[in-house]
Amino acid sequence: MSKIQKTGSIVCVSTGMTLGAHMSPICRSHIEQADVVFAACHPMLELWLKEMNLDVRSMQVFYAEGKDRRITYKEMVAAMMSEVRAGKKVVGAFYGHTGVFAWAPHKVIEMAKAEGYAAHMEPGISAEDCLYAHLGIDPGTYGCQNFEASQFMFYQRNIDPSAYLILWQVAIAGDKSIKRYSTGEAYRKLLIEILADHYPLDHQVALYECPTLAIDEPRIDWLPLSEFANADISLITTMVLPPSKKMLKNHQILDRLAELDRKFQ
């Protein structure tokens, strides 16, 4: 680990998903004490952050229609690092859990540490955490697999249909350009085709969206897998597939465990 000897620092904090409800006391404290806060969250959350710190800078300005988002993410890191190098106490406030489905927070911490600055991440409440509460599902019951939808399409993944499957960023499923904000029906049909190897087309799947404001309800729409192609979805929509098969017992291991039990109990 690099020896920390410079005055600048970076903490990536989590705002949580819902304004007022989810931010931890330590995240709030970091925001309040920062010299500058870079925000990557819903505009309403940004307004909330502005009540905690006078210098809150939105990183939404780095996004643009038709712009490769890998450039956007690099610009986020560059903006944060520039202030760290200037000796400031910097906070990157990212919505949900700062380290979940977010490239820039991990990268800026890695870079700052490599350059000898103090850097760490504060966890928070992610969309996944909210999903379990709102849908009333427990990942421990059958197991749970999480994939970014495009990654699920680009690579051959071994999925277990006896566990939950959660696909994130389904609105841009199959986007190879990393520039689009929606791919569309043909791409979703291909995703359905991949899923159809494990799930019947009439399998009920949920489309979930976590609310930003406490006055709003979460979106939980159940529909057959086949209808996903034409469903109304956005960048914050997540697809949840409950198990389509029962868990199969591993008789070989159960027999061996029984042997161990006879020996050690």
Binding site: H22, A40, E51, K74, S150, F154
Partner: protein
Amino acid sequence: MTAIQLLEKLGANASFNPNHLSKEDKSSIEQAVSTSKTFTAVQLNTQPNDDEETPEENDDDDKESKKEN
């Protein structure tokens, strides 16, 4: 109380009931929500090809990328 302060209280205080908000408070929240800017939620993307180079916007970024690699 500002709209954001009201929303913070609604999120943080279990006994603060949205049904008990005054007409003015409701309208202040509605106005804040309606004037809020658009939001891009995506912060991570899978690269389609492992060996594909990340595009760069300018020379400085290019140097940074080479350092990373």
